[in-house]
Subunit: 152 residues, 2 copies
DNA sequence: TTTAAACTCTATATAGTTTATAGGCTAAAT
DNA sequence: ATTTAGCCTATAAACTATATAGAGTTTAAA
């Protein structure tokens, strides 16, 4: 499962990626605009800051803003920071490999073979989708939604 | 994450799929062969039986055996039974759709767009891999492992 | 230089899920 | 009858997810 932590974090990042000139935005603003729990979001943004994805400015006129070009921040990176590895099972994780305790022979474990395929497919999608790319898709979906409403 | 429940269940099913003539196999046997916790496995097999994937025979000479042709039991089906929906987020699940509480417009939610792609890719793999197919892959991997050991 | 705005950090709480274990009950075979 | 083996219910420890509270610190601006 994608946790709410990742979901909230991604929603905030997608908003920040649309902010002109990477202007600082208040936590409270981000929370209100998408109805996210304020205090929880606070902790999430802090974590993203520690990982360099976000930066912040304290005091009046402060807020959070992206630490890097949003075209180079991928969903995969964000989800790994907030939720941990993409792999459904630790023995196929590229970033946090761990051996299964009970597994007798990892090289020929069927479950591992299948889960490796799933991990690769997932990573291919998430590591190739940036915040900018996703916002573009959203904009396109919005236009489609509007025009189909018009024609109905 | 794939839970241990699904992992154990799949391991048991893969063993049963190799049993000639679908002969009944003891829970204890299945548990011992792959070092799975016996009582936990018991509960898992029972659940698979309720869903028709397994059948059982009580009393002396009893045990569990497959309820259907293992070529028609897919990983996707088993995982859905034991772990629930494949989708990483309920709003893109085909089998257990649920609206997100805080989402303002589902039709144009970026996270949903991306998670839909991931779900589809995952389902494409898991719903098209049967127990038989996976065991075949495992056998092939074993041959490869053996022959590369020989040549080294 | 004071004040208010805003992020930072630590502690705590609650609920739900996962991963089991124990033990008695029931059905079947011999 | 007796033994074997699955069936069922209850229980529980450990972990994770989802927050909230409140004091502390930094900064901009009046």
């Amino acid at each position: 499962m994608l946790t709410k932590k990742s979901k909230y974090g991604l929603k905030a990042l997608l908003m920040l990626a649309e902010e002109p000139d990477r202007r600082p935005v208040l936590i409270a603003d981000l929370a209100d605009r998408q109805r996210l729990p304020r205090k929880f979001l606070e902790a999430i943004l802090l974590e993203l800051k520690r990982r360099g994805i976000l930066q912040s400015k304290k005091g009046k006129g402060g807020g959070y803003f992206l630490g890097r070009d949003p075209a180079h921040v991928t969903l995969g990176e964000v989800i790994r920071v907030l939720d941990g590895p993409l792999a459904l099972i630790p023995c196929v994780s590229q970033t946090a490999y761990m051996k299964c305790e009970e597994c007798l022979d990892e090289q020929t474990c069927g479950i591992r073979l299948a889960m490796k395929d799933v991990r690769d497919a997932t990573a291919r999608i998430l590591d190739n989708t940036s915040l900018v790319a996703l916002n573009t898709q959203v904009a396109r979906a919005r236009r489609r939604a509007r025009s189909s409403r018009r024609s109905s």
